[in-house]
């Protein structure tokens, strides 16, 4: 590449233009398969940074040997606007050369996000909310004992799990977290606070109440959301299932493969599809939420004696084609989101008013 090249700084890329050259560090990198008539092709996306700022990018041709942390020189790139932000576009005409052994200071810029809008596409963000459910755990790291703090962060849209490696989390405190890392663990989104993350006390400029959401507005596995929906389908295998007394896993025969002599107990389980006009989601629910909605007493004997057919009959009568408010957590499962319903209730007049207020806010 020519040494006379005029390299742009990321902070100066503020509009749509073409034929740009820059040197930047790869801060995050993901690939995605794209299906079209010609078959499957790969594209890469992530975030690039330099000493002036960061920019998301999409690359249609990219060396598979490139990794997060590599510094690259890019020529003939273009920029476009997408979802309100400028993106760098690296296509077949662009040239990308790795600069081995080079490192670069990066000025991180984090956009402030609501928890519901967090995703792996933007791995470093600023979020505001209230901390709850704090647990402390001692762990050994490099021969030293360190204290980890686990908790939840909630705002007016959703709840997310937080792990802090550096700062003590206080129960009930309201905070602004600048530069928190978003990752996914066990099918759920998680925030990590490290020594590079800034945590400060903050007054919340929103009220935390019922976090009603359109189904189509949730794109990441976040928790603590309520959906107002109609149940349009109940899974045929809902009803009574058997679980191993020792490991609690669902078993298909009368014994667990790992604990064949330990016996089983019966549990309630249902799966169903909810729709709200903006989309649908497949939901699962367990014993406590089902007992409540189906009017069963939490008497263990009752669960032991009720049959799948009886549960199915009750499910159809109580839920099928009915409006409900379900609260729970979205979980990522084989690339699609399912909903774990922690509570299910019939929609009341009050719920309906809340739904209508929520709709009115979005169409004024």
């Amino acid at each position: 590449m020519s040494t006379k090249q005029n390299f742009l700084k990321i902070s100066s890329i503020d509009s749509v233009s073409s034929d740009m050259a820059l040197i930047a560090k790869i801060l995050s990198l993901q690939k995605k398969a794209l299906k079209n008539d010609k078959g499957e092709s790969m594209y890469y996306y992530g975030i690039l940074g330099d000493e002036t700022g960061t920019i998301p990018f999409t690359a249609w041709t990219f060396s598979s040997s490139l990794r997060v942390g590599d510094v690259i020189e890019i020529e003939h790139a273009s920029s476009r606007e997408y979802n309100g932000t400028i993106r760098l576009n690296i296509d077949a005409r662009s040239q990308v050369v790795m600069k081995p052994g080079t490192d670069m200071e990066v000025k991180r810029s984090y956009s402030e996000k609501k928890i519901r809008d967090l995703s792996l596409k933007e791995p470093f963000v600023t979020v505001k909310g209230k901390i709850s459910g704090v647990i402390e755990k001692e762990k050994e790291k490099n021969g030293e004992m360190i204290t980890l703090y686990y908790g939840n962060l909630e705002d007016d849209t959703a709840v997310i799990r937080v792990t802090s490696f550096s700062r003590k989390l206080e129960e009930g405190e309201t905070v602004k977290i600048v530069g928190a890392k978003v990752s996914e663990y066990n099918g759920r989104l998680r925030l990590t606070i490290s020594d590079k993350t800034q945590v400060e006390h903050a007054d919340l400029d929103f009220k935390i109440g019922i976090r009603l959401s359109n189904i189509s507005d949730v794109k990441s596995p976040i928790s603590g959301v309520s959906l107002a929906a109609v149940i349009v389908n109940i899974g045929a295998k809902s009803g009574v299932i058997k679980r191993c007394k020792t490991c609690n896993r669902k078993i298909d025969d009368d014994f667990c493969e790992e604990h064949p002599d330990d016996g089983f107990y019966k549990d309630l389980f249902a799966y169903f599809t909810a729709e709200d006009g903006t989309g649908y989601v497949h939901c699962t629910s367990g014993k406590s939420s089902l007992e409540e909605i189906l009017g069963l007493t939490p008497d263990p004997l009752e669960t032991q004696n009720i049959t799948s057919n009886q549960v199915m009959k009750k499910l159809n009568e109580t839920l099928l084609g009915k409006p409900v408010v379900i609260s729970g957590d979205f979980v990522k499962n084989n690339d699609s989101l399912t909903f774990r319903a922690r509570t299910i209730k019939q929609m009341s007049e009050d719920d309906l008013r809340i739904v209508q207020m929520f709709e009115a806010e979005e169409i004024i």
Partner: protein, 273 residues
């Protein structure tokens, strides 16, 4: 365990469907039914609707229900051989004035001048006041968001998915808006907005009319005159005796005829179908 892919149900008002004039070939399956494109740009294969049954007719092979949502009518039909979904007998359990929720597949037939729609139900359930209000309020919210997106897209001929998404619309709403402008550039969206301005609610038929229909059907059945049909004069006289308004008899007979309940066997003689 859970089938992941599913066709979304469109919560749309009867008016949006009634004004639809365009269908698109379904590219995914060779023999699939065409996809209906509505004036708001919605692509419809499946609907979820709520309304009040305003007409019902049951014949040998099939049952038909007309459902009114306050903006217009949906037409439901089911045969007895519909596997695994509500058939004629299930539909027959519902009565005029029942409020129902229906999810179903949309069928369209007709020509370039006029398309007709019918729904093959996959789910039909009685609904209560809360469900009726919830459905209507959601359908209205979804339609209004689309109308706003259509207006926004109409301001600028360069409008694209990206530009609309940047203005706060979802990708789905952006696509609907662009589809609407392309297929229905002259649609009277203001009228649509006026109709749904306050959440529309269907009205029940008045009881007097219902009782009169029932009484007349029964009378015709019982006075068939050996298969020649019941005479108009007799029906009229009987209605008078039952205390019904005389001038409504003709109207009711006409309605029963178009509902498929009775037919004119010969001049001024009626029989029950």
């Amino acid at each position: 365990m859970i089938s992941q892919k599913r066709e979304i149900s469109n919560w749309i008002f009867a008016l949006e469907l009634r004004d639809s004039k365009i269908t698109e070939k379904n590219e995914e399956w060779a023999n699939a039914k065409p996809i209906v494109i509505t004036p708001l740009g919605t692509r419809v294969r499946r609907v979820l609707i709520n309304g009040i049954i305003s007409q019902k007719s049951v014949q040998d092979e099939m049952a038909k229900l007309t459902i009114s949502d306050g903006t217009g009518n949906f037409y439901l039909s089911a045969f007895n051989n519909d596997f695994n979904r509500p058939g004629k007998d299930e539909l027959n359990e519902f009565q005029i004035n029942d409020s129902v929720l229906v999810m179903g597949r949309l069928n369209s037939f007709g020509n370039e001048d006029k398309i007709y729609f019918s729904i093959s139900p996959e789910l039909i359930q009685k609904s209560d006041d809360i469900l009726q209000k919830f459905w209507s309020s959601r359908a209205r919210y979804i339609a209004i968001r689309k109308i706003y997106a259509i207006r926004e897209a109409g301001k600028d001929p360069e409008s694209s998915r990206e530009s609309l998404v940047n203005k706060g619309y979802s990708l789905y709403e952006a696509d609907c808006a662009l589809r609407s402008l392309k297929n229905y550039p002259d649609y009277d969206i203001q009228n649509f907005e006026r109709v749904i301005a306050s959440s529309p609610a269907p009205e029940k038929k008045d009881d007097e009319e219902l009782r009169m229909k029932e009484a007349i059907i029964n009378y015709i059945k019982q006075n068939d005159d050996n298969g020649k049909g019941c005479r108009y004069e007799d029906i009229s006289a009987a209605s008078k005796l039952l205390g019904f308004e005389e001038n409504k008899v003709d109207e009711i007979l006409n309605q029963l005829g178009s509902d498929g309940e009775i037919y004119e066997a010969s001049l001024k003689r009626y029989r029950v179908i």
